[in-house]
């Protein structure tokens, strides 16, 4: 399954620098409490979890719940340690994984 993901991360950072990372994903975050015009319950469909993995190490994680608005947007920080890959992962309602990776060069 594909969805639109936007990532803002620096391409280059100096060692020890605190980097700002931003992640925006298109997702309805349907609570499961709403009903459609015909009175039928709209099934729950929320992202359950977000993780940021920096060269295999988890540097940020968050649990999502029903009260989080559609198209969740996260800003967080981590320290630049070494060159490598930053992977942004979301886990959907039924365990689907949406992910996007960016390369980082540490100088």
């Amino acid at each position: 399954m594909s969805t639109t993901i936007r990532i803002a991360a620096p391409k280059q950072a100096s060692r020890g620098e605190v980097m700002e990372l931003k992640a925006l994903i298109r997702h309805p975050m349907e609570t499961g409490y709403r009903r459609d015009p015909y009175g039928k319950q709209i099934p729950e469909n929320i992202l359950q979890r977000f993780e940021c993995i920096y060269n295999g190490e988890k540097v940020f994680a968050g649990e999502f719940f029903r009260a989080i608005a559609a198209d969740p947007f996260l800003t967080f920080y981590t320290v630049a340690v070494e060159s490598g890959t930053l992977e942004f992962r979301w886990v959907g309602q039924d365990g689907q994984v949406y992910s996007e990776s960016v390369e980082l060069e540490v100088v």
Binding site: T4, R6, A8, K22, L24, R26, P28, M29, A69, A70, D71, F73
Partner: protein, 258 residues
Amino acid sequence: MRRRLPALLLVVASAALADTRSFVDQSDLPAEAVRSGSVFLTAETRALQADGFANPGYLWVERGGELFNDGDKVCSSCHQADALAGAAARYPQYDAVAGALLNLEARINLCRQHHQELPPLAYESDELLALTAYVANLSQGRPLTVAVDGDAAPFFEQGRAYYFQRRGQLNLACNQCHDDNWGGKLRGDTISQGQPNAWPAYRLEWQTFGSLHRRIRDCDVGVRAEPHESGSEIYISLELYLAWRARGLAVESPGIRR
């Protein structure tokens, strides 16, 4: 108190009757009074719209850019993205071949049918919203300048008449809120001028991106009138009147609205 009630009802009833008979003031909003809807937003919402990353409308713009370059016969094989800059500011526009007034959505669908030999996309579908968002975004910052003369004139008159027509159980015309009372309060919200320059836009109430016609339907439902179909001629005509009324306002799409 009980004896006075019928008399009071009579006064209320006759006032209501007098009200239905009176006509609304049909003078257009003066050009110098025109304000974009972003003026009526909170500073935080305005900042969200201005932020090129955090604005969730760009999720649709980006998807639209992918669709624009995707498929057997892609949009970009005819259209240079640069050449489309400013195009959205001139819509709705009369098309002689179709013999109809077209808004951006209708133009995209016509292109799909005639040049790409693809079925039209459903109004309000994610794909059509995304393509419209992409094309509208190419005109960001350009002033709205629609042609309302010649073949477009009858549509313009139709749209203008709709704008000044009282409708629904609440018996309200568009101008009674958006010309006469903009800046005032309706429940907890500030009434805007109903300008179309940020659309298609991300509406916080919807928790998603949507078209101007969906927004107009909400207004029609709000005054308890029967809404028209999105993409209908009457709404495209109204869109033309709104675009003319907003002449000179810069295109903001993808906007953020309440």
